[in-house]
Amino acid sequence: MSVDKDTVNKIARLSRIAISDAEADKMVGELNGILAWVEQLGEVDVTGVEPMTAVIANKLRLRDDVVTDGDVREKVLANAPAREGSFFGVPKVIE
């Protein structure tokens, strides 16, 4: 598996990351290097082996249906780039 420059540009767009043409060129090489490294795993025969979901055998923990959190508006909004009253403000998004 490998990526070309179009794919890199597409991933960047989907991730809302602006990259220059030169950066994209550089990224093609880097990403293909990473992919090739991970692809070494393909050399292992995993026929009949169940996919692993956790390194340590563990069960999903569930919470009870009780309100234990929230009411922390000041904390939630503390790092907002643009706070408008009790709201986050973002550049107008409307189709």
């Binding site: 597409k10 767009r13 989907l14 991730s15 809302r16 979901t53 956790a54 563990n58 069960k59 999903l60 923990r61 569930l62 919470r63 009870d64 249906d65 009780v66 309100v67 234990t68 959190d69 929230g70 009411d71 922390v72 508006r73 904390k75 939630v76 909004l77 643009a82 408008e84 009253g85 009790s86 709201f87 986050f88 403000g89 973002v90 550049p91 107008k92 998004v93 409307i94 189709e95």
Partner: protein, 488 residues
């Protein structure tokens, strides 16, 4: 079930409809955090640091939300998947602070099921149709955006962010707006019986994405469009009608339907394209590494099954077996709250037939006039049972019961107290009744003669006059007997 066809210039067209219903799970807390899931609240107050997607925050699933999805699955006879998993659906939008929605694409918690719908709930002979349900999965709701508060900014309220939703995906088994309407109504009724969703479409706790395509009868499936977030049954039916017609016009005019998302505008009664960007559907799903798979054990599943109430179809059948008409049984079971009210009434010793007739004519009539719903009824089942008990044991007549009921609605007094206070007890006093009958016969000699010469229908006139003279308080059976004797 219904032959719905669109007449085009090139002949008839068939409509194919599938629905994706988003139903908010009834719970106290959110799907992955301990923040309140209650509707409303001050902006950004029902938000934890998990819901705001602060770095390092980890989701922990709410057991109740999974339980409600499983119970819903059981109610539609669906396959319950003991092993399911959460996936990330990646997209950027200002109402989604994580940058992905936690959902279940590959391994939903509930698999194939079905519900049976009828076009006319109230007609026992109306044909039925089974609508397949492909899956139910659990996912997070997004926050709310407000665009009209500021000239250049949109405002974000994350109170909804992370609230649990069930997405209930039907098969494309519906072929008319009426069928889709019947399906949504039935689904809503089941959710409310189960208690997994309040079904409140105005508040947005239930909304539908509507997939519509058209084809020549029996032909290949056409390209579909998806009309998003329709929040009433009526709007959904209008949207389908409009969208199907638009597609037929488009194809017959030489164009082609584009697979796209559309919006329904209830003011203009039309759908229009959301003109989404080309990459909008590239969600790059992958298993959420923050969450282990959901594994349900026997005890959990047994509790889910044991806690299911009697569902509308079964209840309806049982009511018919109790001697109710098919019509009454259908009306009383369509909504959970009606059925529960009715059963409460029976629990107070009221006869099923008497109770159902009274509920459907007197109580519904009164509530209608007052513009109130059943749960706002000024008279509760215990009070109603007191009134109906007085009729059943002959203390008051049916017509007096109507008066007493009206006084109950106005004053909130109990039935027995009203009857005592106002002397409305039915009388079996034959002397008093005979005296009134004698007066009426004297005043209507012509009618007496007519009756005696064979005009039997006038009997009712004498009964009415006597009852009126007795101010409704005479036992009708006694009046009948006495009149027969005197008139000969």
């Amino acid at each position: 079930m219904s032959e719905y066809r669109i007449q085009g210039n090139t002949g008839e067209w068939e409509v194919v409809i599938g629905l994706e219903v988003h139903a908010q799970v009834t719970s106290n807390a959110k799907l992955f955090s301990g923040a309140s899931a209650a509707f409303g609240g001050e902006p950004n107050s029902h938000v934890s640091l998990v819901d705001a997607a602060m770095p390092g925050m980890l989701p922990v699933p709410n057991r109740e939300c999974l339980r409600q999805a499983v119970r819903t699955g059981m109610a539609i006879n669906a396959q319950i998947n003991r092993w399911s998993r959460f996936d990330r659906k990646n997209y950027f939008y200002a109402d989604l602070p994580q940058g992905y929605q936690i959902s279940q694409l590959y391994h939903p918690i509930v698999g194939e099921g079905e519900i049976e719908v009828t076009l006319n709930e109230k007609d026992p002979d109306s044909p039925t149709k089974r609508i397949g349900i492909e899956r139910i999965h659990v996912e997070q709701d997004a926050g709310k955006l407000m665009h009209d508060q500021h000239p250049t900014m949109s405002f974000v309220d994350l109170n909804r962010s992370g609230v649990a939703l069930m997405e209930i995906v039907s098969r494309p088994d519906m072929s008319s707006p009426q069928e889709a309407g019947a399906y949504l109504k039935k689904l809503r009724s089941i959710l409310r019986y189960v208690g997994s969703c309040d079904g409140n479409m105005e508040q947005g706790s239930m909304r539908a994405d509507v997939n519509v395509s058209v084809r020549k009868p029996g032909g290949e499936l056409g390209t579909r469009t998806e009309t998003k977030n329709v929040n009433s049954i009526r709007f959904m039916m209008q949207a389908i009608e409009y969208e199907a017609q638009r597609q037929v016009d488009l194809i017959e005019g030489g164009g082609a339907v584009v697979q796209e998302t559309r919006l329904f505008d209830p003011n203009k009664m039309e759908t229009r394209s959301m003109r989404s960007k080309e990459d909008a559907h590239d969600y790059r799903y992958f298993p959420d590494p923050d969450l282990l798979p959901v594994e349900l054990d026997d005890a959990f599943l047994e509790e889910c099954r044991a806690s299911l109430p009697e569902l509308p179809d079964a209840k309806r059948k049982r009511y018919e077996e109790m001697g109710l008409t098919a019509y009454n049984a259908a009306v009383l079971t369509a909504e959970a709250e009606t059925a529960f009210w009715f059963e409460d009434l029976l629990g107070h010793g009221v006869d099923a037939k008497q109770g159902s007739n009274w509920l459907m004519s007197e109580l519904f009539g009164a509530l209608n006039k007052l513009g109130k719903s059943l749960d706002e009824s000024p008279v509760n089942p215990a009070q109603a049972a007191e009134l109906l008990g007085l009729v059943a044991d002959g203390t008051i007549s049916g017509s007096i019961a109507k008066q007493v009921f009206e006084i109950m609605l106005e004053t909130g007094q109990g039935a027995a107290a009203i009857v005592d206070e106002r002397g409305l007890k039915q009388t079996n006093d034959t002397d008093a009744i005979e005296a009134e009958i004698a007066k009426i016969m004297a005043a209507n000699e012509d009618k007496v003669a007519e009756y005696r010469s064979g005009k039997d229908k006038l009997f009712g006139f004498f009964v009415g006059q006597t009852m009126k003279a007795m101010q409704g308080k005479a036992n009708p059976q006694v009046i009948n007997d006495l009149l027969k004797k005197v008139l000969g």
